[in-house]
């Protein structure tokens, strides 16, 4: 058995993830990079005599700037762990993609180039001479169409074969080549000497200090470089890239014949409409409306009705099974009232949440998100945000955790921080059950309005927060907006399924573990007093006492009921737990036919429409769940800012819910 570790590297939007999914299918798992907690995606291909481990690295444009993702890629690709670098290149965007290719070759490891999206290139009428490209680069080149799984067999065979380390292409001017040689000899770095010599020309000391070299010796070397490049019209950071691109331009003329016609491509024609001066915003609003009405409108509701009936019958079967085998009343109550009542009340929302994730995945895969960022940038800038903040905000409607990670595209640290503070205000799918349950119980005629108003409130609070916080968080900085607008693509079914399944799996696992556990704990704590006697009234139970102690805090907001306090606290574990906890505490599930509708009566007793609205408002805005909290801490890399963020969120939640309730009361609602 031959084992190989392969690093998959490429530009953003080159179809790398699609290729990774096509190659490894469901045989994937996620790990973390040592030291930093950027997600590390691994996948395996097992065949009779080979086992290939593929590592999907973050999409990057270059190895020579120093964002976290570029550093991770560079360090990993150089490391001894990697046997082969597979560089995915978007054939339809050859020149820019080859820039990274040349940098990767300078690492000096065995490497192959995978030309993806050959179909797009052909459809455009361009002709690419692949043999010639391979010859010019001196590495093997394989063509694939990852989205249609074409060329995969050949690719796998090529990956299994042995390859020589990539040769250093002497594409630079004699002066630079001489400098590279000098630096290489004085630095004596054993791994990727050419790459590091070149980095030294570009960045000077920074590059070499990474390797623990002595700064004193280096200043002389640095001086040599300065001296040699003195008469050069270009700056040090420009000269290497400039020469690389000269070479690329020349190679590209040699291997690629571009279709001379100036006829706009399909992608350009679509773009002309979607970012049209007049139509762009109406279309954008229509798309957003489409996302929500698909998930939470008639289709979602239809799917939900059947799914709930299914869950109720499953619970019914379990309940009758338990009575049939004659379990004790205590066990019966724990399982049926505690676990099934709690978890069942959340699981019912699975169809709607699934649809939401599918639609969001489509938006991400097609390339529309970049256009939304493009048209919204001007507006968002007024609120201290950037067009790039917009992509995480949309993803936030699904789940806050990936949304926080998506903020990495914001280059400026303070821009990014502000976006991370406001992203949790975008109502994630886990919060939807809260609005749905409350709206159904309290706003019968206007359920949809009540639910949608929560989403709009979240957006409004996010934007107002931008205005308030930009004075403190992003004051005085110039932010950037350098964003590639990729070709539009049809989302592939495989990507869509894998992506959605990933999210749904998370939801189901959460329901099966955290919510079950929370439900059991809540149930047990609500049936016993502190003296470990069975509680006659749940309000005297352990959890009842805790809730009663905290409740006065929430009284001014209209929901001073002890159950509300407990539900909100448990909601920190997972926002779905707000509903499941209310389900347990209100003893839903008694009739062995648990369902969402059963929460309606207790909610009508415990809340007025106004206090219910205040509760929904607070649930929307207060600190995100523990997973989001951990992500926030990790991505902000600062306890201070993490605590500021969740403190701010919870403070805002309290104030807004207070205003809703107090103003509403004075207006006579």
């Amino acid at each position: 058995m031959i084992k190989k570790t392969i690093a998959l590297v490429g530009n953003p939007n080159c179809g790398k993830s699609t290729l990774f999914n096509t190659l490894t299918g469901s045989n994937q798992y996620v790990g973390n990079w040592p030291g930093v907690t950027v997600e590390k995606k691994l996948g395996k291909i097992k065949r009779s005599d080979h086992e290939l481990t593929l590592v999907d690295l973050p999409g990057i444009y270059s190895l020579s700037t120093s964002t976290l993702e570029e550093v991770i890629t560079r360090e990993y690709a150089e490391s001894g762990e990697v046997d082969l670098i597979v560089n995915v290149v978007d054939a339809a965007n050859l020149e820019r993609n080859l820039f990274l290719t040349l940098q990767l070759m300078e690492i000096g490891k065995p490497m192959i180039v995978v030309l993806n999206m050959i179909d797009v290139l052909k459809a455009r009428g361009d002709v690419l001479n692949i043999q010639k490209l391979a010859q010019r680069l001196g590495v093997e080149v394989v063509e694939v169409v990852a989205s249609k799984a074409e060329g995969i067999e050949t690719l796998v065979e090529t990956m299994e074969a042995d390859h020589q380390p990539a040769k250093f292409i002497e594409l630079y001017s004699p002066k630079i080549l001489k400098l590279i040689k000098t630096i290489r000899e004085s630095l004596k770095i054993s791994v990727s000497p050419n790459l590091h010599a070149i980095r030294f020309i570009e960045e000077g000391m920074v590059a070499a200090l990474d390797h623990g070299k002595d700064a004193v010796d280096l200043s002389a070397l640095n001086q040599t470089v300065e001296e040699a490049l003195k008469d050069n019209p270009l700056d040090r950071d420009m000269i290497i890239s400039d020469e690389k691109y000269r070479f690329i331009t020349e190679v590209s003329r040699d291997v690629l014949v571009r279709n001379a016609s100036d006829k706009p491509t399909l992608s350009e024609r679509i773009d002309a409409i979607l970012t049209h001066r007049v139509l762009a915003f109406p279309i954008f609003l229509l798309i957003m409306w489409g996302v929500f009405s698909l998930a939470f409108g008639p289709i979602g509701a239809f799917a939900k009705t059947y799914f709930e009936a299914f869950i109720s019958s499953v619970i019914g079967v379990i309940a009758s099974f338990l009575s049939a085998i004659g379990v004790s009343d205590w066990v019966y109550a724990l399982v049926v009232d505690g676990i099934l009542g709690g978890v069942g009340s959340v699981l019912g929302f699975l169809p709607e949440i699934t649809i939401l994730f599918i639609v969001l995945s489509i938006l991400e895969d097609t390339g529309y998100m970049a256009r939304a960022a493009f048209i919204m940038d001007r507006i968002l800038r007024k609120f201290g945000l950037s067009g790039k903040s917009f992509i995480p905000m949309i993803i936030g409607f699904g789940c806050t955790v990936p949304a926080l990670m998506a903020t990495r595209t914001l280059e400026n640290e303070r821009d990014r921080r502000l976006t991370m503070i406001i992203v949790p205000f975008m109502s994630c799918s886990a919060r939807f059950p809260i609005y749905a349950v409350f709206a159904a119980a309290l706003f019968k005629e206007h359920q949809a309005v009540a639910v949608y108003s929560m989403y709009l409130l979240g957006i409004a609070v996010a934007i107002l927060s931008g205005i308030i916080l930009k004075r403190y968080v992003t004051k005085g900085i110039t932010s950037n907006f350098i964003l590639e607008l990729p070709e539009y693509h049809w989302p592939t079914l495989r990507n869509l399924t894998l992506h959605t399944w990933d999210k749904i799996k998370g939801f189901i696992i959460k329901a099966g573990t955290i919510l079950v556990l929370a439900s059991i704990v809540i149930y047990v704590m609500s049936t016993y007093t502190f003296a470990l006697q069975p509680a006659v009234d749940a309000a005297d139970s352990i959890i009842g006492s805790i809730g009663t102690f905290i409740a006065p805090v929430f009284s001014p907001l209209g929901f001073g009921d002890w159950r509300s306090s407990i539900a909100l606290i448990v909601g920190f574990v997972a926002k779905e737990a707000v509903v499941s906890t209310l389900g347990v505490l209100h003893g839903v599930g008694n009739a062995a036919s648990a369902g969402i509708s059963e929460l309606a009566a207790p909610i009508q007793n415990a809340y007025t429409p106004l206090s219910g609205l205040a509760f929904m408002t607070f649930s929307l805005l207060y600190m995100p769940c523990i997973a989001a909290f951990a992500t926030l801490k990790r991505e902000m890399n600062s306890w201070k800012w993490t605590l500021i963020a969740i403190g701010y969120q919870t403070g805002v939640a309290y104030v807004v819910a207070l205003v809703v309730y107090q103003v509403g009361t004075h207006l006579g609602f």
Binding site: S62, S241, D242, Y245, I375, D377, R378, N480, I482, E484
Partner: protein, 76 residues
């Protein structure tokens, strides 16, 4: 003349990149080197950012970033 002054549909060749330009290195590495041809495709509906075509792909950047990119206009 800078990239900011080009009208949609106009082409230009990059002459130099301003030193103050933040993310200058990123811009260079994305293929906006001296002598590269750029075409302005459009402005966003609200006038900013702009969309350009460079080396066969579309890139968007803000007016103030475009202002740092000096170009020579090409006439058709």
């Amino acid at each position: 003349m800078t990239l900011k002054d080009l009208l949609p549909g106009q082409r230009g060749v990059i002459e130099s990149l301003g030193k103050q330009s933040t993310l200058r290195k990123r811009i260079i590495d994305m293929g906006l080197t001296i002598g590269t041809e750029i075409k302005v495709i459009k402005r966003a509906p609200l006038g900013d950012p702009i969309e350009i075509k460079v080396r066969g792909y579309q890139l968007s950047l803000r007016q103030h970033e475009a202002h740092e990119i000096h170009v020579q206009v090409l006439s058709d």
